[in-house]
């Protein structure tokens, strides 16, 4: 039983990690909690399902297309909502982020209706729900295996982009000091757009995987997932990409164990408890660095 809980927790955890990376990267470059990130995740699931049902695309092309659409959505979000407020007081973009989150959520409700919908299962490869591995009584489906491997590939790819490419270097420079980066000839707005693009497409993947895993999607799904992923990002140290990955996994496992052994009623409460505990006892998270106020 414990092993099965652990596996389920890990599955959720890697998905949280995917969303958390989006939060963490955006926070790293513009120091803003992008509350609308959870909505991008939700849009990813709906886009993918729409491409499958409306255009008859197979699962994998639909997923790629949904990633591209969400990347565009993320960039548009930045350009229209956050860019005009770069120099405004901190409260203004934060309030805008909340407003955009509500706006997008209700937009999805208008377009797709407010009821939960099943994910179009016929488009999925048939073997997804078969058991891939069984060891000591734990069953691992092909779908879970797919989720793990896809996430690991994406994470490795992301790490390579951040550490090896010029754009990734520019991104890290921006996170350290925006003005100095601009003086070195980095096009700040383009890098920020790039960050939103990457974060949003990873969020879209997470949304698709969750809706396939649970076979349900609804316009308010981004709300809880967003908070949990944010908790994961904080746990890992906000601004740190490896931290966000680890935080997501730890949180997913903690949640599954909490639901299994403490009380399933407070399942959603685990994330908040972790969040508050981290903020109280180790505000920099696992991998974060302390930042001095008003340097």
């Amino acid at each position: 039983m414990l092993e099965q809980q652990l596996i389920n927790g890990l599955t959720l955890g890697v998905i949280y990690a995917l969303i958390a990376v989006g939060y963490s990267m955006v926070y790293g470059v513009i120091e803003l909690i992008n509350f609308a990130h959870g909505e991008i995740y939700m849009f990813g699931a709906f886009f993918c399902a729409t491409f499958i049902t409306a255009f008859g695309l197979p699962f994998f092309p639909a997923m790629a297309l949904a990633m591209i659409c969400c990347a565009c959505l993320g960039v548009l979000l930045d350009i229209f909502a956050y860019r005009p407020l770069r120099r405004a007081p901190r409260l203004a973009p934060l309030i805008t982020a909340i407003g955009m989150s509500i706006f997008l959520q209700n937009l999805a409700m208008i377009v797709w209706g407010s009821r939960p919908k099943p994910f179009p299962q016929e488009a999925l490869p048939a073997f997804f729900h078969e058991t891939a591995l069984t060891f000591s009584g734990v069953q691992l489906s092909w779908l879970q295996l797919f989720i793990f491997s896809l996430t690991i590939v994406l994470m490795i790819g992301l790490n390579l982009v951040i550490t090896r490419t010029k754009t990734g270097t520019a991104m890290r420079a921006l996170a350290q000091n925006q003005r100095a980066a601009a003086l070195m000839g980095i096009n700040v707005n383009r890098i920020i757009s790039f960050t939103f693009m990457i974060g949003s497409s990873l969020g879209a993947v997470a949304g698709i995987l969750v809706s396939v895993f649970y076979n349900t999607m609804y316009p308010t799904m981004g709300y809880n997932a967003g908070v949990k992923a944010f908790a994961a990002a904080v746990l890992g140290g906000i601004g740190s990409v490896p931290g966000a990955m680890l935080g997501g996994i730890v949180l997913g496992v903690a949640e599954a164990l909490g639901a299994g052994y403490v009380s399933s009623l407070y399942r959603d409460g685990v994330a908040y408890a972790v969040l508050i505990a981290v903020i109280l006892f180790r505000p920099t998270g696992l991998f974060g660095k302390a930042v001095r106020q008003k340097a």
Binding site: I33, A81, P84, L94, G99, I102, Q105, I110, I276
Partner: protein
Amino acid sequence: MNTKTLLRNALLLAVLAIPLLPFAGDYLLHVLTLIMVYMVLAMGLNVVPGLCGMLDLGFVGFYGVGAYTCGLLTMNYELSLWLILPIAALNGAVWGILRGAPTLRLTGDYFAIVTFGFSELVVLFLTNEIWLTRGPLGLPGIAPASIDLSWLSKAINPEWDWYWEFIGEKPYFYMAFVMVVGVFFMMRRIEDSRIGRAWFAIREDDLAAASAGIDVQIYKVIAYAVSAAIGAVAGSFLARWTMFLSPDMFKFWESFLVLCMIVLGGLGNMTGALLGSVVLIAMGELLREILPRLGMPAETRFIVYGLIMVLIMRFKPSGFLPKIADAALHNPIIVELRRSLKAKGVV
């Protein structure tokens, strides 16, 4: 008496006279009372993001704490509302401090997310602790408010019985009116006091405020307590007014709506909070009628609220009634300075 106070008094009288008008049906009075409940909430929330500059996303938690305090005390102990109000306010304040104390050192973003988590935990608690709150079934049949002065009247004349139960919308309308006026004047007084000035200083720059000798943490705790107590008072009123409570009434949407009100009216301005409540509740009632006719679910009216917040922050970040330090406008030295500068053509 200048025109401004005259106008204000006329407005107050006009509002008081509304229930006496022939066309004032239950629906109109209900909506007006709802507006006034939100006015109190908006003024309460305004203390934290408006006066101290910390984004609070979980204000509805205190509304819920207050409402359930009142509902449970009424149903289990049959206490009078007048006794419950201070208890609920105190309970709200305690929770405000409990939530605020650990988050004192947090910057805006972290604070926002912790407050959000708090309100979600309140909803989870109300939903899951069935032994106390009956969970999702809610608390039906809370006794209405009443004024019981029979002990006084009996002492004067044994034949008299001064006991009134609040039935229908009218008594609640007046009660809400008294509540709004009371909270408004209390807030105006606090704003102009030492506490209020300290809050404004913290909002502008907490480091500078601390350097000027303001104990930032104490004043923040006071702000959380005041804000939470006001939210709890509004909640107690709600419990006795609607006579029904359920955890669904205290979801994040409510916090968002109240936040939208103060953003619209101007962060930190109490009059703006009043204006925001009127505009948004009236608009909500209109949209509730219009949207289903366009084939959209009524809850999508929040898309308008979201858009309002984004647009206001973009084009009018200080809202429609911006908070300006109007004390300076009446300061004779500054008035004289401005006049002389204008005469020289500098400004």
